[in-house]
Symmetry: C2
Subunit: 452 residues, 2 copies
């Protein structure tokens, strides 16, 4: 069996190593445009902010490491064409322009091409000092430029925008983060929870501009400022964190059907072309709650999809389930996470909801170092939990995982309110903040029932 | 409605405040032998080890605080008699010997008498320098005595023994901890996991003696040493952490039936006498996995039971479910927790099991400060998860909660292995250690099926 994988990120490489796990004899080739493979793009902001020492640290493997497991990795190679009927790709080595095109035959092709940053058509977006952020090279360029800059504007206050902005702030720059929508992290958090993070970053000195799309980037040859509806912000550099678009070009060329957002795949991660699979940011998935197609551009999703694809390619049945988009991030000391729908996304999907909230502590009240924790649980009117958002200075990720499991298992807020959580003064409260939020949701639902 | 509650710990006071929450008019009286109420006995070891500043810190409320909510608290009062047919108790004030007995009528009586330390009949156990550990006064005495001592022996390496031993070690004493069974924390952990903690405390300088019951405590008037089968250990003080026995005397006097371990209650926390309820360490519960009666001497259990009792007393239906005994503790930097059955307790209950294990990290591999984490998941041969044990220097408690929910919802290891966990480099690995352990369990089960 001969498998060609396009893309050297989490999706592509996890597919490769999982195929090898089950099949000693498969020929496996990974082709990537990138110079580096097997690095963690999610860690780029943490190199900027100095928590991780250098970019080299976040590169986990070199191509040679894969060769040891008989997986061939070709870097700096661009796939030009997929010839579906011949099960063949054409590619060229980017740094060897004069060499002829090369080709590869495959039994199975895996498309793990990820996404490309979307740069909105704003005047001045081609000036020196405007950066996109996707690859480790982007991170290196941003860091170098930031070292000689004073004022940065980050366009887009999604997760990546926020993390990068905080990284630049920590490097000593004056940072403004801007978002078209009236809140930060709009995809994952409701406004009430987002405002807790906003307050935190503002206290750290970040300037936040909401609900105000940029008009243009000002400058002659390089960035000098950013113009908004009603104000101008001085800037030496601008980071476009305005989202990522799935890279579907090769898939289209191969005749794979697209869905609403990206490459359409079935539960096996198989495209409409039977011997072509696709995983990672370039595919669309289904939302476990609404049932609608959606995107899940998360490293953890790519890895889970890659495992499913690899199993199916070697003939082991495996299915990728609809997603809850369980996520977590850390900005400064503040950790925040979310899973399932926000109240707003629920309403947008026609689901009436109530929310239960708690503000409590991460340890017993008297325990030194106890941190504030905020929990919001979102339930439909049949008590079923469909979303959760948590913010604290510690111990958020695992609580999100608990809630991911709760939502996946269709737990109601009253069921959750009597769950058996562990307790010890140095690590938890005797009644967990999640339980308190669930109780709050139960009481709100009870009052609602009395009214109706 | 007139409610009398015997016991001022987590069970008694939570019952009181929850009754008040639902019923503004109830007369509520709490009677306790203790001088202090509303303190956290679980925190005593953390005062010894210096993490919590002083014993006053762990007292969360004074009787006056309850008076504000119209809950009368009588401290240092001993209930002498429960006259079931007259719905009446007799009590006396401990510090006022000459005063006549007093009495109280009740509509509902709640027994929350907790447990008393069990002191094994060992020669020398009445010497000066031998301590039991249960109340805050015990903690104060131990701390005072430890300040003038050099060598301590803690008998019993359960949770409390271990925590107290570590506290004394941190106070600068030479500490030996001893356990009759061949491992530490035998109720919650399997030997392989317990040995990780043993290695940690030994590295910190604690002396551990296993599988070796004590013969006698040596000394004339005060402790001078402890004699084992084959050796003698020098000691100025001995802590008996040899378990706690439910205090059932008053319940028996009231005609409440006992079960195998303690007071028997139904799902409403009602004893065999309809207007007498019981909560906390003095009652027995059912194990969610085996269905057998068992004990759950945990603050978190007492609180959950108290909420159920309070609701039923005021006429709101509520049921206490069988327990998984979800627990967590922290010894030094090491946090460890468990939920459900250990492999050993499963075998003792006639359940064949396999276990999946992982040793991984609490953050991305390259992230500074990533700590080792060990996870063990126990499954029956139908893949159902019935137990989990986790040890790491951070982020254990919430993972135990995730597993508590997983076990409560009858999740299989293959279901768990594809669950959607959150990921960000500073707070988790892209594949969570729980998922890795679940995958390991799946593979073991698969191999087992091939063999059979």
């Amino acid at each position: 069996m001969n498998v060609v994988i396009i893309g050297g990120g989490a999706g592509g490489l996890t597919t490769a190593s999982n195929i090898r796990k089950y099949d000693e004899n498969a020929e496996i080739t990974v082709i990537t445009r990138d110079k580096h493979i097997a690095y963690s793009p999610c860690a780029i902001p943490y190199v900027l902010c100095g928590e991780v020492n250098c970019f080299d640290d976040i590169i986990m493997h070199q191509p040679e490491d894969y060769l040891e497991r008989d997986i061939k990795v070709i870097t700096r190679a661009e796939v030009l064409e997929v010839i579906k009927n011949e099960n063949k790709i054409h590619y060229r080595l980017i740094d060897h322009e004069n060499e002829p095109q090369r080709e590869f035959n495959y039994d199975y092709l895996v498309i793990a091409t990820g996404g490309a940053p979307f740069i909105p058509p704003v005047e001045g977006s081609d000036l020196e000092g405007v950066f996109k952020i996707r690859t480790i090279e982007d991170g290196i360029k941003i860091k170098e430029y930031a070292q000689k800059s004073q004022d940065a504007v980050v366009i887009g206050a999604g997760l990546i925008g926020l993390e990068i902005a905080y990284g630049l702030l920590n490097m000593g720059l004056n940072v403004t983060i801007t978002e078209m929508l009236p809140q930060i992290v709009p995809k994952s958090l409701d406004p009430d929870m987002a405002s807790i993070i906003q307050e935190y970053i503002e206290k750290k000195g970040m300037n936040v501009i909401l609900g105000n799309p940029i008009e243009k980037i000002i400058g002659e040859t390089h960035v000098e400022g950013v113009l908004f509806d009603d104000k101008e912000i001085k800037a030496d550099m601008v980071i476009m964190a305005t989202g990522v678009r799935p890279e579907t070009k090769l898939a289209e060329m191969a005749g794979c059907k697209l869905g609403r957002w990206a490459i359409r795949v079935n539960e096996k991660m198989q495209t409409s072309v039977p011997n072509i699979y696709a995983v990672g940011d370039c595919v669309e998935v289904y939302d476990a709650i609404t049932g609608h197609s959606t995107q899940s551009p998360l490293g953890s999703t790519a890895v889970r999809q890659a495992k499913v694809a690899a199993k199916n390619i070697v003939g082991i049945q495996s299915k990728f389930k609809p997603v809850l988009n369980s996520m977590v991030s850390k900005v400064g000391d503040l950790e925040f996470g979310a899973v399932g729908l926000t109240s707003i996304s629920a309403l947008q999907n026609g689901i009436d909801v109530i929310s239960g909230k708690s503000r409590a502590l991460t340890k017993a009240r008297y325990y030194p170092g106890a941190k504030r924790i905020d929990v919001k649980i979102i339930c439909d009117l049949k008590e079923k939990i469909i979303g959760c958002q948590i913010i604290a200075e510690e111990r958020v990720a695992e609580r999100i995982d608990t809630m991911s499991l709760a939502i996946a298992k269709d737990i109601t807020c009253s069921e959750l309110s009597i769950m058996e959580f562990s307790y010890a003064p140095p690590v938890s409260m005797v009644i967990d903040p999640i339980i308190l939020a669930a109780e709050d949701a139960c009481e709100k639902l009870k009052r609602l029932k009395k009214i109706n």
